[in-house]
Symmetry: C2
Subunit: 268 residues, 2 copies
């Protein structure tokens, strides 16, 4: 049987996992998927994810790929995976991809969403998936500050120590950075779309916007923080439970999957 390259679109509730990346003796998303893929295919599987989401971070559009000689039809594989995986990890799509497709290297844009719950009491059904922050915030000034993080910048001030990023450029391009106010849900939802992100970058961007909302920083400070290239200048890293990787985009010619038209509309 010829080698196939299969692309998975994944959703997961990360609250009970130690992040995406496989590690010994703790449950991880990658480790759980690899175990189940090995059981189904009988092969040793290398599963490549587009993003190494941190412990507690969720996904609704994570993309991963792996090579296999198994002849199993994609639809049956999706069904078998969802039957064997825990309900906190769901395979949303299985597709044939070109042999050279690589979920990480070919990713063109990623969209993350961060949910801040403003209600006085956090619903017992939401605590795994929102950051509950019931204290005063000026959400209007936060919404005005969010787009100031757009563009190509050296994001060193929004990075953290990560051996995989050591010695590499910290320049990243953020296509859009917006904060929406959803009063009916008592939520603030921050959505950021960019080429790629440093480790903890989205959570430090949100932490910085919260400092703006508290009045401890002005929107004008954003430019100063970017220019400082100093991690101590940005706001704190907000907790992982509010963060969700909602979409990963690939060039149509490599993904084997048509890119939805509306995704292009909000690109810069």
């Amino acid at each position: 049987m010829a080698v196939r390259n299969l692309r998975l679109t994944l959703g997961y509730d990360g609250s009970e996992y130690f992040g995406w990346q496989i590690q010994p003796n703790v449950p991880t998303i990658q480790g759980t998927l690899v175990d189940v893929l090995r059981r189904i295919t009988g092969e040793r599987i290398w599963l490549l994810g587009s993003s190494r989401t941190d412990a507690g971070v969720h996904a609704l559009g994570q993309v991963a790929n792996f090579k296999t000689r198994s002849p199993i039809p994609t639809e049956n594989l999706g069904r078998a995976l969802n039957n064997l995986l825990p309900p906190s990890i769901r395979v949303l799509a299985v597709e044939e991809a070109p042999l050279e497709f690589h979920a990480r290297w070919h990713a063109q844009a990623k969209t993350y969403r961060y949910r801040i719950l403003r209600a006085a009491v956090c619903s017992p059904f939401l605590w795994r998936t929102v950051y509950h922050y019931p204290y005063p915030l000026d959400d209007e000034v936060m919404a005005a500050a969010a787009p100031l993080l757009e563009g190509e910048h050296d994001f060193s001030s929004f990075g953290t120590w990560d051996p995989e990023e050591a010695g590499q450029s910290k320049v990243r391009t953020v296509y859009s950075s917006r904060l929406e106010r959803l009063p009916e849900l008592q939520e603030l939802v921050y959505t950021v779309r960019g080429r790629a992100f440093l480790r903890h970058m989205v959570r430090k961007m949100v932490g910085t916007l919260i400092e703006v909302g508290k009045g401890r920083l002005e929107p004008d400070d954003i430019q100063r923080i970017l220019e400082a290239r100093d991690r101590s200048q940005s706001g704190p890293t907000v907790p992982p439970e509010g963060l969700c990787l909602v979409a990963v985009e690939y060039p149509a010619e490599i993904s084997g999957v048509a890119v939805p038209a509306q995704r292009d509309a909000d690109s810069v």
Copy 2:
């Protein structure tokens, strides 16, 4: 300090609890609340719930009451409880009630909601709170059959073995029984409001409506099943995760809390 009777309105995700009722060596909602109330008041606490929700069943409007000599203001008690309780149990309100108020005996009506998710794949964020049923169903005939369960009937056919109900009347009054179709959420939502319910009654009513949706029963069979007074005649008991106790109503004169006007609109 004089004795006070305090009324709690509670929300909980029941998926990790062995139901409301306190039991040795397993986590229960009542047991968790009593432990925390004892820590706060330093007293032995008897907590009375309006409903003994089963293992896995949720609540957004469970009501409970307890007596205390503690002088703690209601607002501080609510904050202290939410600080000490796990995030899966939330105190939504703490109110002073008349000394004779009893959460169970004075309940005038209860509203339960049951969510059936029709999507092919269950979101990793929903599996604790919906019944995932992706198989064919005629939801139009189910919606037509749901109101046939309204009225005062002997609901023996929708009961289960329960020592607390032994020898007692199985006549209950259902004020409203409706199935809503929410295509945008890919959900069927069954809402039932009644004076009181037998154990497993709501889940057997939903199981029976699903049999109607599958074409195994006709809407006309509902009357026949009620008249049979035989548990083997109704549909199966659907799983607990879809069920939520959303509201409990009390007569204004005993509850110490005004009954919202819109609740009267849908009463029979």
